[in-house]
């Protein structure tokens, strides 16, 4: 068997996944902290203040990566949920459900930091603007997925029901993305483009790229840890968990 295919099959084994997650999550977190520290140093101390917004534009360096993560994580959650529904792969159910609280956290950061930025720039904490409203609906969708998953006792049935909600919810993502194009919006249009020309000055973009990479790495670490926790919760009666608990209870949450 091809080694990559074999590795994927092995990863589906709960004890193997537990060891894998426990080993690699700290590395992802450590890399994320380093990359984000470098990005934040650039964002707070290196980049000049904006000529119109002053220093308040520095909020953008946490707001934009979090907003992108809120959409990316939801899309990934739906992808895992679809695989779990089609092929009944338990690990994909676990990964899909582990995505939900992380995505909700990034959506919450997006809304809160946007609101904090909006007060001095727009003169209001909140406006029922299409971009803001659709992002709020995304947060409720995340809460819906989390709530549904915890409302049903049977973990596999719960994951399937919540996964279905995640798949249906994907329809919201293009609405959020194009809300500033389709409707008159208080929120500014697209200023940063990965493949086209950005309207943001090049000197200001570099810390943003570091923050985008840093949040992705953070997500990997967090996903592995949350998936590990759910995997252990499902397998708590099994021998390998007992052995792990008996031998490794002191430094369990590495």
């Amino acid at each position: 068997m091809n080694p990559v295919v074999r590795w994927f099959h092995q990863l589906g084994s709960p004890p193997y996944f537990d060891r894998f997650a426990a080993r690699w999550a700290p590395w992802a977190y450590a890399l994320a902290v380093l990359v984000m520290a470098y990005g934040l140093w650039g964002a707070l101390f290196n980049v000049p203040a904006d000529y119109q917004q002053g220093d308040s534009f520095r909020i953008l360096y946490i707001h934009v990566p979090s907003a992108w993560m809120s959409l990316f994580v939801f899309a990934l959650m739906a992808f895992y949920a679809a695989i779990a529904l089609i092929w009944r792969i338990k690990l994909c159910e676990i990964l899909a459900m582990a995505c939900a609280p992380i995505g909700a956290a990034f959506t919450l950061i997006t809304l809160a930091t946007g609101s904090i930025w909006g007060k001095p720039m727009w003169g209001t904490w909140w406006d029922w603007d299409p971009r803001l409203t659709t992002e709020l609906v995304l947060l409720f969708l995340y809460f819906g997925v989390i709530g549904l998953y915890h409302a049903i006792d049977d973990r596999r049935a719960a994951a399937r029901a919540a996964g279905l909600l995640a798949i249906v919810g994907v329809a919201l993502l293009p609405v959020i993305r194009y809300s500033v194009v389709w409707w008159n919006s208080l929120h500014q249009g697209q200023t940063i483009s990965l493949f086209g020309k950005s309207t943001m000055d090049a000197s200001m973009i570099q810390p943003l790229i570091w923050m985008i990479v840093g949040t992705k790495l953070w997500f990997i670490g967090s996903l592995l840890m949350r998936a590990r926790a759910d995997n252990l919760r499902r397998e708590i009666g099994k021998d390998w968990v007992r052995q792990l608990a008996a031998s490794n209870a002191g430094d369990n949450a590495r």
Partner: protein, 56 residues
């Protein structure tokens, strides 16, 4: 720094939420392993209420 309070508040929200995201699964794993360890201890511990007998 202009708008300093807003910048500080926004970054504080960012760090607090990430800190929660970092701690929540660790606490969960710690509790789960503790529960599993308690179960193992209960199962291996001899039952004190069991009557003494010479029969083996």
């Amino acid at each position: 720094m202009s708008y300093q309070n807003y910048v500080v508040a926004a970054y504080a929200v960012f760090f607090v939420v990430l800190l929660w995201d970092f701690l929540a699964p660790r606490i969960g794993i710690r509790q789960l392993l503790k529960t599993a360890k308690t179960r193992v201890t209960r199962q291996t511990k001899p039952d004190k209420n069991e009557p003494l007998t010479r029969e083996s």
